[in-house]
Symmetry: C2
């Protein structure tokens, strides 16, 4: 890479798409040599970030996420916005490639110059993938995209991670039939600020509306997350292009409401602090795990804890003390 | 305290209740001088812990938690068990005393020698309170109590913390009226392994049964947490003593089911590991925050992050590097 991190940052800020892609690759790199360069790049672009609306979208495979994101993306671009689509998919490393952020599934959107689509970073852990995605979000915002969509397929704790890095969490559901509604993964429905029942196509339109009515009823069991916002349940057909305008109108209403009451800003500040201290804890743990001798000892202590022979408090104390002694010795 | 930690531990293991109370006070102490003594005590007793069933109970104020726990406690003691009741209530430090674990509200239970009731530890943070409660759980188990109840009043993330340290999470609800069911705090209903509608007293019995039926229907929206277990929704009147036997029978069924399929053991191992690494991260952060100069610098960096001028990744790196340099210098 011939550009310095600062030069790469300036190209990104000027709207150079290839520079943006290279910057993201640099940020996702786990090579120690790239770490410092990544830091310099981030420092240069971060002040230009933060102005976009951050939208998280979750839904099971088959709900039509790609079609929905494509329809929504095209709609907002037609209204003058620039849309980036990112993804959090920790399984991508195992499956040999993410099923999310797949440009071939969002063909018409991917060909628009006002859109930028990037697959999930590969990663061993959800924490690592989420970290890279949050940093990539800063990069695309600095590059001028004012709507950032982060999609997740609903595996494990991905939704909580995505909800923790976005302003609005949209849950996409399938229309069910009768009393037996599609099971919703535990813990997700109450993260949602907006629920959309997709695939209200043709004959399924009535079923989708019934499902939406049932979900509205179910949501009344839950205390509102924000006193100022009642979670709307909408239905749409992304395939046929119906209902998308209403979805965007609801998103804009949410943004306006949460900006007016200061909640958006408060939530962003809390997310930033939380992200900072997660990084601090993760950096410390990483250093601890990088020490081969200590890693072995820690594994042995962990086994003692799992077997019930030692308490976590005491085992943790031993691990940390050994780590500190080694730091002092290396100084 | 004239006993050494080891002597105190041995008295606790022999069934000395005053020793148990003193041991818990020692564990809850934040004085650095007590830390080492607490560690020695824990190491001595931990191998004797782990054999109890750990039951988390949550419910809003007014749902009748104390009456319910008293009725359940008396019922299981009559069947030959020994019951400890602990509490997680981070607000106790602010309100000048916990409303949970109040013996005066569980009078008949507190007078039984087979029961042990302890109010929530005071603490500035939920994390600190939860940590002490988990350690106290080890102590009461080592002292021979085979059912440990951890109650929480439903403030903030307390339920998640309690669900993360117990085998079974029981949600206690009030009977609602008609279509408008009592709002359930987001994120809690899907933690539940057992739901009980209380206050099915006298004329309210029919309303309680209708509420139970509605909650059963609502729970069908959610994917089961365990494939082998369908969450029962029962109704009872703790005041009148009706339905308590059915609740205990359901708890025993859950325990038998999750023991047979290995899930209890798996969950315990995961909780132990998670507890260990939480402690490691917390110890490291504590050391970092104990350094006054570093604390100031970290606050300044945090402000830069919240203002959007610096990225969390870079700010974290600076904080950690300064921490390590100071460690090397102090060696």
């Amino acid at each position: 890479m011939s550009d310095s991190p600062e030069q790469l940052a300036d190209k990104l800020l000027a709207g150079d798409r290839r520079a943006l892609a290279r910057a993201i690759t640099l940020i996702e790199s786990s090579r120690p040599a790239d770490r410092d360069a990544g830091n310099r790049l981030l420092e240069r672009v971060t002040p230009a970030a933060g102005q976009a609306l951050r939208l998280g979208i979750s839904g099971v495979p088959g709900v039509g996420k790609s079609t929905f994101i494509e329809a929504l993306g095209n709609h907002v671009i037609d209204r003058g916005h620039r849309v980036a689509v990112l993804a959090v998919d920790p399984s991508s490393a195992l499956s040999g490639g993410s099923i999310l952020g797949d440009k071939t599934r969002m063909d018409s959107l991917s060909r628009r110059v006002e859109a930028f689509i990037r697959p999930s970073p590969a990663g061993r852990t959800l924490g690592g993938v989420a970290r890279h995605t949050r940093e990539t979000m800063l990069l695309v915002e600095a590059a001028g995209f004012d709507l950032v969509i982060v999609e997740t397929v609903g595996v494990g704790q991905s939704e909580t991670a995505v909800a923790g890095m976005t302003d609005l969490f949209l849950l996409l559901l399938l229309p069910g039939g009768g009393d037996e509604l599609q099971g919703i993964k535990r813990g997700i429905v109450e993260l949602a600020d907006l629920v959309v029942v997709n695939k209200a196509d043709g004959e399924l339109e009535a079923a989708a509306e019934r499902a939406a009515a049932d979900y509205r009823k179910a949501l009344r069991f839950l205390h509102p997350r924000h006193p100022d916002w009642e979670v709307p349940v909408l239905s749409c057909s992304a395939l046929e292009g119906r209902g998308i305008a209403d979805v965007w109108a609801a998103i804009e209403r949410y943004r306006d409401c949460m900006t007016a009451n200061g909640e958006l800003e408060r939530a962003r500040a809390a997310q930033a602090r939380s992200w900072l201290w997660d990084e601090v804890a993760e950096d410390l743990l990483e250093l601890l795990r990088a020490d081969a001798g200590l890693r072995q000892h820690a594994a042995a202590l962990e086994a003692e804890v799992v077997a019930g022979r030692s308490s976590p408090r005491v085992a943790a104390w031993r691990i940390v003390n050994e780590f500190l002694e080694r730091q002092e010795q290396s100084g």
